[in-house]
Each structure stands twice: as structure tokens, then as C-alpha cells.
Symmetry: D2
Subunit: 304 residues, 4 copies
Amino acid sequence: MIEIAKLGHVALVTPDVEGSLTFWRDIVGLDEVDRDGDTVFLRSWGDFEHHSLSLAPGGEARVDHVAWRTKRPEHVEQFADGRDDVRWIEPGEEKGQGRAVRFESPQGHSFELYYEMEKAPRSARLKSNSARAWSHGVSPRRIDHVNLVSDDPAQTCSWLGETLGFEMRELISMNDGSMLGGWMGTTNLLHDIAVMRDERAARFHHVAYYLDNAQDVLRAADILQEHALLVDAGPGRHGISQAIFLYVKDPASGHRLELFSGGYLVFEPDWEPVVWHEDELALGMTWWGPDLAGAHEMATTTSF
Amino acid sequence: MIEIAKLGHVALVTPDVEGSLTFWRDIVGLDEVDRDGDTVFLRSWGDFEHHSLSLAPGGEARVDHVAWRTKRPEHVEQFADGRDDVRWIEPGEEKGQGRAVRFESPQGHSFELYYEMEKAPRSARLKSNSARAWSHGVSPRRIDHVNLVSDDPAQTCSWLGETLGFEMRELISMNDGSMLGGWMGTTNLLHDIAVMRDERAARFHHVAYYLDNAQDVLRAADILQEHALLVDAGPGRHGISQAIFLYVKDPASGHRLELFSGGYLVFEPDWEPVVWHEDELALGMTWWGPDLAGAHEMATTTSF
Amino acid sequence: MIEIAKLGHVALVTPDVEGSLTFWRDIVGLDEVDRDGDTVFLRSWGDFEHHSLSLAPGGEARVDHVAWRTKRPEHVEQFADGRDDVRWIEPGEEKGQGRAVRFESPQGHSFELYYEMEKAPRSARLKSNSARAWSHGVSPRRIDHVNLVSDDPAQTCSWLGETLGFEMRELISMNDGSMLGGWMGTTNLLHDIAVMRDERAARFHHVAYYLDNAQDVLRAADILQEHALLVDAGPGRHGISQAIFLYVKDPASGHRLELFSGGYLVFEPDWEPVVWHEDELALGMTWWGPDLAGAHEMATTTSF
Amino acid sequence: MIEIAKLGHVALVTPDVEGSLTFWRDIVGLDEVDRDGDTVFLRSWGDFEHHSLSLAPGGEARVDHVAWRTKRPEHVEQFADGRDDVRWIEPGEEKGQGRAVRFESPQGHSFELYYEMEKAPRSARLKSNSARAWSHGVSPRRIDHVNLVSDDPAQTCSWLGETLGFEMRELISMNDGSMLGGWMGTTNLLHDIAVMRDERAARFHHVAYYLDNAQDVLRAADILQEHALLVDAGPGRHGISQAIFLYVKDPASGHRLELFSGGYLVFEPDWEPVVWHEDELALGMTWWGPDLAGAHEMATTTSF
């Protein structure tokens, strides 16, 4: 079976690229690193590939694809073999990237698998970084994970496990036996992907970028509030993942960002998922901080 | 080839178990979780196994072994197959642990491979933790890595790569072409093990425990200084690994602890080691903070 | 006119002294420093007097008095001169304290003025502190301010200014011209006392203790949640005062504590109060974090 | 006797105004708020007056004056009355400022007393601030204190006490009975001014700017090191004042900046100075962190 090395990037479509750049580049503080026609490529100073986010123009906001890097070059071809539901992306079709495949989850989330990607230069004085930290805006270190919405999280999670090798790390189990949400990983991160339930089939809740310290998330809240950006919810600490969080939406597109710090890592190969029962739901979502279940703004999602 | 899932534990021998307990349990804040005769087992609130540190009585301070958990149960046997330089450790010989093998690096560092280990209960209110955070002392989250001293780090590192699958992440290259030190990992941590050069063959520099925030390391410095414990060096930030660090020695044994936060993670399967040349050595050791090369106290090590 | 040097202490009455000690001493981490009969005296490691909090037994929770230290010894007598609404407290009547006077605000808040008070020893290794920091619990540095409830904050604030020399630093002005709340100081702290409106005449909203870093408040939230203590609201940042806050109630008495960090200081002798208008109320209360106006638990107060 | 309300500003002369602006404005992150000919005025987002720092061109780096705001308008005239060693500065001679007097300490440090100063607008969304926090560079909150060098700190401190009302808060007492340094305040800050001994009569060691959190000082160290600015010493924590510190020099002028966080406040009117004896000197200078006595770079000073 193929193995996933990491979340690579998220390709967003926005009705207002310049407006979205104000948010992701100027306020969040990602670096604009390349353009291809009207599509803009960005990454953080601790991202090691050509891009971790792209902004392409489109009539309405949607996620074009969520891309995963495989552990070996041959995994991309291996994955495509014998499947007729994948589409090949040729080298350079997405700037910086080699041959890749696109495909959909049963619920319609669009994914991409790739191995070849142009490396970011190591251009900071702190030579393991691709650029100077703290040059502008919030300045997170790197992309962390994605959170998707599905009308059947149990099915989406099973598919993620069987098809891509994700393992369940934490989940919410309802009294009727159904799964409200699952947090899955293939790396040592508590999760690389989460799936939460909503009546709509394939939606996008957020992409998360990581900051080294909880204090960096508090500083982000200060910066966002000076720009009068509605903070959806946070800062707070999740019970699930234990991470410090803050949610904010790009006002030009509605795509949501989670600024994220401090979640724990999983090294155990025989990890038993942490199960939060329905009556523990509130604590699982929020160890301390805002009631996420009650946050109206948190219910909005963008489409695939 | 076998795969290593994680650093499991470090088994320390100390001439003064009670004195060492004052340090590791009362001041560092690990939880004492079990005893077997005069040997005491400890772990942090975010360690998920029976123990991550043990303190056994002995005439002089030394490291009995550094233990690695394999990714699969069969890896332990697989590793031992055909080798005549391993010693079997029977189940229960080390409390909480199943069948394991012990063996030495070419320089004489004693390692252990195991898979079976009693799991820590999830007994905190924050249910993914094995115990309450912040109950006493410094209260780090979990064990992180070990740092060893070798008279031939290049050879030790090659052996670690060929035998146990560690990959080079960062290294210091001297003008004469030799390697002064290597930082290697099998997980997404920048390093699970480091090897630095010294004239003595097999020595132990430190075991590191992780804290979520740089501020937690500063708080640790306050606590240690209130106990009049000589802080070897730090707080500071390494160039290599980018981590916030602080070094302190158990006064009863001389074994050194690094309190560690914020190092970056490596997800790239084709990671190219970051090379620090001799003239960048100082910056590699210390991005900001104390001059580690000049810190006399940092040169002391304990034996295997 | 007399001058106030500082908030000295808050004398609380609790129906359950031992229960309240579990909260204030064991969880919040104040040091128990003395007893007088059933009354217990506590202070933080950065408080410089005999006590900053006392817990006395009583049928129901109430505030016995809020005590202010004068700048000069003669101010106590000067204040009492010609007033027939003060009551003298003889030396030792309150342990550690010299001669003092007690009196009430027009709304019935009970205050004390004193100058003579036994000094705390400087017993920490960090010799400006009265005790070791971080020895147990949340471990705040020192008492900071009090927040009172009044049915007429404008009148209470005028009285505080005319009688005790407090200056208005920030206030909330409603559309009908009334003042919803005032934040007043005599020190460089943004405020030593706040008065907020409620239909009941003389109530106590909270006493605040200060922590050096926002991260220390986040750590406090972790500790409180491990003890299943309902966090009333927070962490968050106030607009007014700019401080990081977290509210929690002593479950044994209902008296509320604010853990507080980072508010700005006022050095200007001609400070013009920052006025928050009714439509800015939410932002004034919460720069980021929980909606305090909407927090039901925040409305509860204890009596004088 | 007159009273000092606060440290107002420091007027620096630099041989390279543009080079100094790169440091103080672009890297430290002060806002350039005004110019008067070749003189540039700067302040932080939490400074409430026209400027807290000025940079004027000159043949060599020196401090033109250190300015203190009086508590009352009449204090300026009162101070000048009957003294023939003061020089009047007319309104507008220093931009934004009313009538002021200049004079020297017995050792030749040049001071200014003023009351009238143009107020900074409150132009941030967080309305108590004069500008947006975190807009660029390190972004400290406000000016904090100055540290001067004198060949006779005892005499300088006596003069500061008798002439300007500063009170001794902490001091270093040598075995021969002399005072190596004194930390004095008129506000609740542990110190507004410090005086340390050196063979040269009137020198300037540093001006300090305050940051709310220790983590902000660590972030500053990252920013400074990315700009290859030699960090003189730090981060660390002083024993004296308990503050987190980091020292760095403007490379264009040699004037030193201390980035400072978390020092304790003094509210006691009968504060007894904390005395550090010669054998406690190292701990007084450095609770944890670099050996300041041994830091060669720390010995350099600029002239008045």
C-alpha cells in the first residue's frame, strides 16, 4: 500500500485574488513566492516546498484540491494503477509540481497525490528555513492539517484509512453509535486531516497553519483584531489534539484558517483512538475557551 | 529492514537513587509510577508507556541502555536474527516490558529494542494524557531525544542509519572533512538521536524532555535557579533543530537533562541534511543564547 | 488630601474555610502564611506584606473589607479626622496590621485604610521575593486590583475620586449619558479598582491576581480545567486595560478570582480617560475572547 | 519638592541617521512620527506622547539628553528657580515640547525636565494605543528606563534622590563598602533609572523598551539574529528587577537598547532597598542567562 508523507498544499479558488492576498499574504504573513497567470503561490518560512497554498481566481470560493505528498516516487503511479476514477496532472500543470493524480473521496472531496515538487530554497540566515521568520503579519511556521466536512464522516474516514493509510487518532462517538467526527494521521502529528459531520456532502472547514508557541496565537489575535477581522472563535484549547486554536476567515473568499499551536504528537504504532462520547463533546471541542458548538460562525464552510 | 517507532526510555544508573528522585521527580516533575526493588520508574504526563526513565542504584553513574520501540512486534526478533552480539531481555526483566534485545553500537553505546510495553493509563481529565499536567515541578510533556558522545560520530551515525534506519537531518562538517556531530531521526522530530565528537568512545551527553512552549522553558529556569541548581547552559535557541534549550544536571548522578521546546519537524522523505560548516559552528550550536562551545560544564558526560 | 499607595488586601468571609483553602491555596497557589483562630491569611510570592487575602468563617460568603495602604502613616488618622462614619481597628485586631479605619462607600462597599503592616520576609533565593515562585498551583505574582458592582457607578466613582484620590482611567459611556462602568487608579496600574453597574447596591465582582506572562494565564486555564473548575470566562484580552484575563470562582464560596496579565501602565499626570461608547461596549469588554456581556456566570457577584 | 511622573524620552545623536533609522524604526519597530530638519522623532505604539526617542545627526554618537516629565506644570519652573546651572529650552525648540530646562548631574549626564508635550493621537483600533501593535519589527510597547554609567554611582544616586526625588529600590554593595550600582524609581516601576560604576564619568549604557511577554523578547532575539545583529547579551533574567532582558546595539551609532519584560513593580512607600552583596553580584546581574560581568560587549558605552 502507498504511504502518505505529509499534507502538501491546499489549492483555493477565490472570487477576489487580490482581496485574498491581503488576507493570506499581508495579514497572515505567508510569503508570495510565485505566480502562474492569475494564480498566486504562497508558503510559510518553515514550509520546505514550492508552495503550501495557492489562490486561483474563480466565480465563487471553492477548494480545487487538497494535495498529499507520497513517501516514495512510485506511490503516485501505484495509486493510479487500475483506478479509472483518477485524473493525471502533467508536470508543470501545477507550477513547481511533477506528475500527479487527482481523485475524489466518496463524498466528493478533491484530493491530489504527488511526489515531485520543486524544493523551497533555504534562504534564511537560520539556514533550515526557507525564508526569514517574523518578517510580516502573523507569520506562522508551516502548513499543518486540513479539516473537512462530510455527511458521513465514518464512511469518509474508512475510505481515508483504506485508500490512503490514515489512522484514527481521536474521534467523537454519539449515543446512537454514529461518529460525529474523526481526527486521522499518517505522520506523528495528532492529525493531518479531520472529518466532521454536516448535512452537506463535501465541504471544507479549514486549513491550519502552525505556530511554535501559544503566545504566537495570542499575538495573532491582536493582529487580526487590529484589522477588524471577525475572529470566528478563539483563542482556546481543544480537548481533541490538545492544540491551542484560533479561527478566522479570509473575508474575500470565506475560506477559513485555523492558527494552531502545541498539539501533541503520536509515536505509538498501536495507538488506540481516544474516544470522546456525546456527553464529553463540549470538552473535546474546547478544553478551555469558546463554545465551538455554539459558535454560529463556525458552522459555515466552503465547497469543493 | 526494521523500523524504529520512537525513543522509548532511558535507563539510568545512579549512585544515589533518592537524590536523583529529588531531581527527576520533585524538581523536573516526572511522575514516579512504579518500583521494582530499588529501581524506580518515571514518566511524564504526556508519555504513553509504562516509563520513559528509570533510576537504578549502582556504584557510579552510567547509562544502562537507551531503548527504542519498533514499529511492528516482529521487528525485535527480526533484528536479533543472525546476530550473535545481542542479548535477550525476557518479559518482565524490565518492569512493564515484553521481550527485548540489547546490543551495542560500534563505540559501545548500549541500546535496547522492544515492542511490547505496558501502556500508561489515560488518567487525566484531559483524557489523552496519562496524568495531570502541571501537578509539580517543571512538568515537561514527554521524552524527546537522546544525545550521545562518540570518538567517531561519522561511524556511529553510519551504523545508526544502516542498522536502525535513522536518517541524517542536520550535521556539522569540519574543514578537514570530518563530521563533528550528526542529528538523526526516524520520526518527524528533527532528531531522535544526536551524536557529537569527543575523545572518549561511548558517552552520554543528555536525555531531552519536551515542553510545549518556550515560556515553559523559561519557567523551568526560574524553578531550577530557586533550587540553586547550576544551569549548565541556557535558555537559548539552537541553530541546529531551532529548538529552545536549557541544560541542567542531576546533582546526584551527573546525568544531564535538556529541557527542549519548539524544534521543527521533518516530513520530507527526500530531506537533504542541513550542513553547518566549521565556520558556522557557533551559530549552529546557538542561534541565540549561551556559547555552548565555550561552556565548560557542557563538556562533561556520563558513561555507558 | 490623603494618598493611596496600593491595594493591600481583600478580607473574604466563606461558609467553608477548608474548601476555600483548597481553591486559593492549593489550586491558585497562594501561600498560607498565618492563622488567627479560624481565619487564614495568604499571600503570593511577590506580595510584600503579611497578607493580601484572608479567609474567615461565616454563615454566608461576603466581603468583609477591601483594604488600601496609604502613602504616609499620618494619612490614616487624617482620613478619620472629623468623620463620624469610620470605625477604628486597633493594632492586631487584624493580624499583622497596625491601627486602621473602616468605612463604607455611599453604596455600602466596606473599605479599610491602614499604613502599618508586618512586612513579608524576603525568603526566596531570588531575594526580592517573599517566597519561591512556582512552588504549587497557578502561582500568581501578586494581588492586582478589585472590581466592585454598584447600582450607581458614577456616584461610587465620584466618591472614590473625591475621598480617596482615585483617577478615572477608562470608562464606558452609555447612549443615555450614564456611566456603565469606570476603571480608576492611584498607582501606575491602569486600574486599582473598577466599578460596574448592577441593580444591587454594593456587590463584589472579583479580586485579581497578576501573572507575568499571558502564557501563565493559559497554563492556569489548564490547571483549573484539570480540577473541573468551571472557568467563568476566558482566557481573553480586555479592550479596557488591554489585559489578558481569565475568571474563575472559588466553588466553596462563590467569590470570583481574575487571573490577569499584561495590562498597560499609566504614567501621565494629565491622563484623559479612554471613553468606550455604548456601541463599543463589546470590544471594550473583550478585545478578543469570550463575550463577557453574554456570559451568564459573569453576572453573579458576592455581597459586602 | 518637585516630582517626576515618568521617563519621557531619550535624545540620541548619531553619525548616521539613516543607518540608525534602519535599526530603531525598521528592526526594533518604533514608528517614525515626525521630523524637524534632520532630526527624526519616534515612539512605540504604547507611548502616549509625541516621541520617546529622537535621532539627530552629529559627528559622533552621544546622548543629547534624557528627559523626565514632571507631575505638575509648575514643577519645571520650580526646579529652575534659584539654580544658575540650568538652561531653558523654549517651546518648540524640541518638536512637540513646551518650555523645558536642561541641566547636568554632578558627573555630567545631561537631563531635561518638561511638562508640556504634544500628546500622541489614539489612532489604533485598540483605542488606548497610539498606533497598531505588531505592525513591523520587534514592536515593543513603550519606553521603560535608562541605565547610565558613572565613576561615582553613590554620588550620582544621592543627587538623583535629593534633586529629583528618585528612591533607591535595589543596589549592589561591594566589600569595601562602596556601591557598584543603584536602581532607582519614582514610579511603580522597579526602576526608571539605574547607575552603574565605570571609570569614565558620564556615560550611557542603554535605554530600555518594554514588551508585555518574555516570549516577545525571544521573538526579538530571532528577528535580531536574522539581521545578523550582534546580540550583546541575552535573553536572560536579571536578579535585580527580575526582568527578562536582551541587549543589542544600534550598529550605526553604538547606542545600546535593552528589550525588557516582566520586572516587578514597587507599591510600598517604605520600600527597603534590596541589597546584593559583592558575592551575590553574579546572581543579581543574571538570575539565569548570560554572565553579564563577563560579557565584553556589555562594557561599551556611549558618551553624553
